[in-house]
């Protein structure tokens, strides 16, 4: 067996990103969508760390940027949850397919 190379990490990242994307697009529950967004962000993190390990090991650019992303993801998750709570308070629903006030 070959050693685990860059491609494996990229493929993993892509698959995770794909799953996350599918979840964002297709999940009904708002929390589920938020979780899928986190998944997408984390996939991107894996991508960046992989590239940093394999393409420029002496610099830690990828890792630093990942820390930023994790921070922002946390903040964004907080905002997202606040939106969901606000949505629940006003509409009593958290299923995205039922929130279509902007429908024609």
């Amino acid at each position: 067996m070959e050693a685990i190379g860059l491609n494996h990490y990229l493929v993993l990242s892509a698959i995770l990103f794909g799953i996350g994307l599918y979840g964002v697009a297709a999940r009904r529950n708002a929390i589920g969508v938020l979780m899928s967004i986190e998944l997408m962000l984390n996939a991107v993190n894996i991508n960046m760390v992989a590239f940093s390990r394999f393409c420029a090991p002496d610099q830690l650019h990828g890792q630093v940027f990942t820390i930023f992303v994790i921070t922002v993801a946390a903040a964004e998750a907080a905002v997202g949850l606040a939106l969901v709570i606000s949505m629940y308070r006003n509409l009593n629903k958290i299923n995205f397919d039922e929130v279509n006030l902007l429908k024609w």
């Binding site: 994307l21 697009a25 995205f96 279509n100 006030l101 429908k103």
Partner: protein, 708 residues
Amino acid sequence: MDFALHNAWLIPLFPFAGFSVIILTGKKNLGVKAAVIALTMLGCSAVLSVLCALATFGAHPHNPEHFEPYVHNMFWARLAQSPLEIGYQIDTLTCVMLLVVTLIGWLIHLYSVGYMEKDPRFTRFFAYLQLFCCAMLMLVLANNYLVLYAGWEGVGLCSYLLIGFWFEKPSAAKAAKKAFLVTRTGDCGLALGIFLLFAKTKTIMFQGIFAAAQAGAHGHGEQVHQLPFSFATLKALLHSPYLVTQPQTDHFVFTLAALLIFFGAVGKSAQFPLHVWLPDAMEGPTPVSALIHAATMVAAGVYLVARSYPLFTTGGHEIGVALQVVAWIGAITAFMAATIAVAQNDIKRVLAYSTISQLGFMMLGLGCLGFTAGVFHLMTHAVFKALLFLGSGSVIHGMEHGHHAGHPGADHEAAHGEPFDPQDMRQMGGLAKYMPVTCWTYWAGMLALSGIPPLAGFWSKDEILADAFAQNKGVWFLGAAAAFLTAFYMGRQMFMVFHGELRAKDCHPHESPWTMIWPLRILAVGAIGLGLLGTPWANVFHHYVHYGEHRLPANYVVMLLSIVIAAAGILLARNLYGVTPLKAGQEDPLEAKLGPLWAFLQNKWYFDELYDFLIIQPLLRLTRCCYRFDQKAVDGTVNFVGLFGIVVSRISAFLDKWVVDGIVNLIGIVTRASGNLLKLTQNGLAQTYMLVVFAGAMVVVVIRMMSG
């Protein structure tokens, strides 16, 4: 006296001023003041006329300078060849007419004050009378055919206005229309005659025309052979009209013009065959009948013939075609009208037919070279016919007021089955004791008309008959027969109206007021005495008015025959009506004797029916045809053209509604449809939106990868 002659143009203007003043005072009803104005104005004209007459008394038969002051007034218009002038003339014939019109007119104005007293349109009556006098005086004073024609039309108009004065009565309105149309028919002839004369002589002045006529009559001294009066000449003239101006057609043209002018006189003077309007004209008030249809307007025709005598006598002292026509028409009219008068029951209708008959006499006289006789009879007839008409008006006035005064609420119609007619002689009788003055003046007029010496009518009628006897025995015979009938029907009228007992029940007639009585008295004096001016032994009148013919010596045979005829007529009337006066409701004794002839006479020889059948019905049919043509053809064409407009408008409407509006609507529809379609992308779900964004981003990446 010259003052009067030079200012004679004022004579017609005085009554015109009267007319204007009365008409222009608007709503304010003048009442009796209008009558005073009218009497004053006509009085001024009368005074001037008398002065003019006095001025002409110096005319001597050997003095050719009869007083004719022309005033070529008013150069009126410029025609191609010469200036058109109009003016007036005064000669003895004019003076006779002036005196007749103004003096008798004045008396009738006075009479009208009493007769028309209660009429609501009192002032308008006097305005019309004044206008009539103006027109008649203008006619008489004219020295050219154009002004004469203007006056002629003016009297025709006034006759229409006055006959139809009580226009609420449909019979009066119809009668006025009939009078106007029938006289108009005659006027066409007069107009054509004037045109023909102008074409021949290039002038409208009497002097010029008559000089040309007399010169042409003698063939310009026998140098130019005259074409005869025949159809051949007429055809030649129609073929080449310029021949009118050539001297060889002089005789033809002047004779034809004379006949056309006589046709105008036939219409105006109610001669056969245009006599039908005069009896109907009795629908007008009695003063109108007296003035217009007895004394003056109908005499205008006689005056016209007398004035145009040079045209009629182009044959010298032999009787030409024109004069023969005049004489025969006059004779036929005289006889026919006298027969009709015998069978009439309305007091005014008898007098109307009597007028027609006497006008026939005048034409008869003129047609037998009796110029003086005809004019003399015109004058005396004016006096006694006016007297008779005014007397009949007095009788009618008395009967009407007597009937109303007796029983104001009585229903005559219910009692007798027909409305009370104050003019019906069968209702009258015995009026001598109720209206003595009317009675004796009426006797004076009746005797004058019948031709009993020494009253006026005898001298004038006898002169005519003497002239007729000398020229044309056939015409004389008709005239004598008419004279007999005249005496008879006047006697009949006298005995039916004034003698016997009053036949109308509940009627208390009374004598008329002074305004009506005094004209009767004055006219009676005239009827009795005026004839003495023209006796065969001392014919003053002939000295005054003549046409150069010599006086015939007194013809005792004719005179005796005339007296016998008149007396026989009156005696026969007395036998039938005077000895055993008619009772109320009794049939006329003559009716039984004559049988079917009575109906023929009473229905006026069925002339009205004949004219209705021959002329009026075809005209009305033509009118209806024209009306239908106008409705269907003309209006149909217009409507058809309109149809095109409708069709075009419908097409246009369709295009506008479906095509133009369709395009506009289509834009809206497309917009909405596309909106409907595109709104489906807005499903309100954020996840869908996000997917779309992602898909778009992918497309961009792929395109970038593929191109670079």
